[in-house]
């Protein structure tokens, strides 16, 4: 905001000789990087943002759309604020990266040259281990709703169409996946909807993991408290297959038929990063230098957000991606000016989950760069959980969303 105001007249003033940064992906990581590159370079870096969608739709808060207390429009924001700041936005798909020529070719035809490339492609879903969902037609029958947008609306529509007395089954993949508390928050939102509108209905959480992966005490308290009788939690529920036609999730030793099934598939870094060969952590996620978020496999290419291989205890969250974006932007501005990169970056996480439509709870942490281990470590004594969900924290959660959306999109 501060800069948006002061930058004013020179917003579009990056000359033709200006250093060029291309950002692929306009989510929490990519949009933040694009905005802060303009702010911290005082408009002297030419920033191009390549984004497939017409508007940003937030994954955080999207479970409220599924629960029925928000509309998709409430969590959607255009890219006009970034454009006003001089970011050139191209609606399209990055198709081929030539790392030696330092160019990105778009599926739509244009080729963009870069001095530094920032990839914030989010995650792709892995359907290899789910034979019944390999075809796009089958996938369309079982919305993941793990990228906010049409999928979110589709899942909500199914819940609305479901009879009272029905069952909603959600499958949680093994970690690491995007947004560790998200599946459990979703279960709470659907349970809250059932409690109010379809009281004979039930939620079954099938978790491939051995326990709740985030905010465990808060979620289990809600399921045994306000949602007693509405939520059943089954750990160690490894998914073997899905039968979309029969609306059935097949587990190792069991099958669960439900009226609405929601399978969150396993995930890996977005395709453009894997195609470039920089998903060098198990072929799934991208290892980066936490001082600059530059890929350890490809010079001049940086990776942000859910696509990176995080340090332990660094969750794949929107807030974290926003923080990656700023550390990366600061480093890229410095590198393009031949200056030293901040040798001791600090990042924080603040993550709210709504327990119903009026109460929320948080988890937080602060992470500092450790020069010896060359990784991010939680600062001892920092971080923690809410003691209980509250209306007060839902007010903060809403303010958090408004402010971070502004922080990334202007």
């Amino acid at each position: 905001m501060l800069l948006a105001r002061t930058l004013g007249a020179c917003a579009n003033a990056a000359p033709a000789s200006a250093p060029k940064v291309v950002v692929v992906g306009g989510g929490y990581g990519g949009a933040t990087a694009a905005r802060y590159l303009r702010l911290w370079s005082d408009g002297t870096i030419a920033v191009t943002l390549v984004e497939r969608d017409a508007a940003f739709v937030s994954c955080p808060l999207s479970n409220l759309v599924i629960g029925g207390s928000r509309q998709l429009a409430d969590i959607s924001i255009g890219y006009g604020g970034l454009e006003k700041l001089g970011v050139r936005r191209i609606r399209g798909d990055a198709d081929v990266i030539d790392a030696s020529a330092r160019t990105v070719s778009l599926a739509q035809g244009e080729t963009l040259a870069y001095d530094r490339l920032i990839l914030a492609p989010g995650v792709d879903f892995i359907y290899d281990g789910i034979p019944g969902l390999r075809s796009p037609a089958a996938q369309a029958l079982v919305p993941h709703a793990w990228k906010a947008g049409p999928q979110t609306v589709a899942l909500r529509a199914r819940l609305e169409a479901m009879r009272d007395g029905g069952v909603f089954a959600i499958h949680v993949p093994r970690v690491p996946y995007r947004c560790p508390p998200g599946p459990y928050e979703r279960a709470c939102q659907v349970a809250n909807y059932f409690l109010r509108q379809k009281p004979k209905s039930k939620v079954i959480i099938l978790d491939a993991n051995e326990e709740v992966q985030s905010k465990k005490a808060l979620f289990t308290a809600a399921w045994s408290g306000r949602y007693r009788g509405y939520v059943e939690y089954r750990p160690n529920s490894e998914l073997v297959d899905v039968d979309p036609a029969a609306s059935t999730i097949k587990l190792d030793f069991d099958e669960v038929r439900a009226d609405v099934i929601n399978v969150i598939p396993p995930q890996r870094a977005g395709g453009i990063a894997r195609q470039l060969g920089i998903a060098n952590a198990n072929g799934s996620f991208c290892q980066v230098d936490f001082l600059s978020y530059e890929s350890t496999a490809q010079k001049y290419v940086h990776v942000l957000g859910d696509a990176i291989q995080t340090a332990p205890l660094m969750p794949k969250s929107g807030h974290m991606a926003n923080q990656h974006g700023k550390v990366c932007a600061a480093a890229v501005v410095a590198l393009l000016r031949d200056q030293e990169v901040n040798p001791s970056p600090l990042i924080a996480n603040a993550c709210y989950s709504y327990i119903d439509d009026k109460e929320a709870a948080h988890i937080a942490s602060v992470h500092a760069y450790d020069r010896e281990q060359k990784t991010m470590l939680v600062v001892p004594g920092s971080g923690g959980l809410s003691s209980a969900p509250s209306i007060e924290e839902a007010v903060y959660a809403e303010a958090w969303a408004r402010n971070i959306w502004f922080d990334m999109l202007g």
Binding site: K326, V327, A350, V379, S382, G383, N403
Partner: protein
């Protein structure tokens, strides 16, 4: 630069240009022991001169050390004032007030939900650096 460049599109005044060139030279002198770095002096000076002459405000070699720490705060604390003041905007707030509030949160003297847990992640020096930076921002 955020707080210093109110009229950002304009050019640097001449004394500012000279100061920046002087700084660039000083910087090179400090690192002059290393032969490789020495050889980089000339291009560095050239860049500084070119930048100054082109009057681009890009060559401020000194980045406020509080900037990157304050950026952590910005995720929640700056922004869209139209949505009310549940989370206060820290821009332009008195430096001493910011420091005192964060310390109160950290020590548990001021009740909080999330702020004690976050404040515990920062040293006194880091809090002070962020507070200095934030206090210098325009509201």
């Amino acid at each position: 630069m955020r707080d210093r460049t109110g009229a950002n599109s304009g050019s640097l005044r001449a004394p500012a240009c000279f100061l920046l060139i002087a700084r660039a030279i000083e910087f090179d002198t400090e690192i002059g022991d290393d032969a490789a770095m020495r050889s980089a002096c000339l291009p560095r000076l050239f860049v500084a001169l070119w930048g100054a002459c082109a009057c681009l405000p890009v060559i401020a070699a000194e980045i406020d050390p509080g900037r990157d720490i304050a950026a952590n705060c910005a995720s929640c604390h700056h922004g869209d004032r139209s949505t009310g003041a549940a989370i206060p905007d820290l821009a332009g707030m008195e430096k001493a007030t910011i420091i005192e509030r964060v310390r109160e949160f950290r020590d548990g003297r001021r009740p909080s939900t999330i702020m004690r847990q976050l404040a515990n992640g920062y040293s006194d020096a880091q809090i002070e650096a962020a507070a200095s930076y934030l206090a210098a921002q325009k509201r």
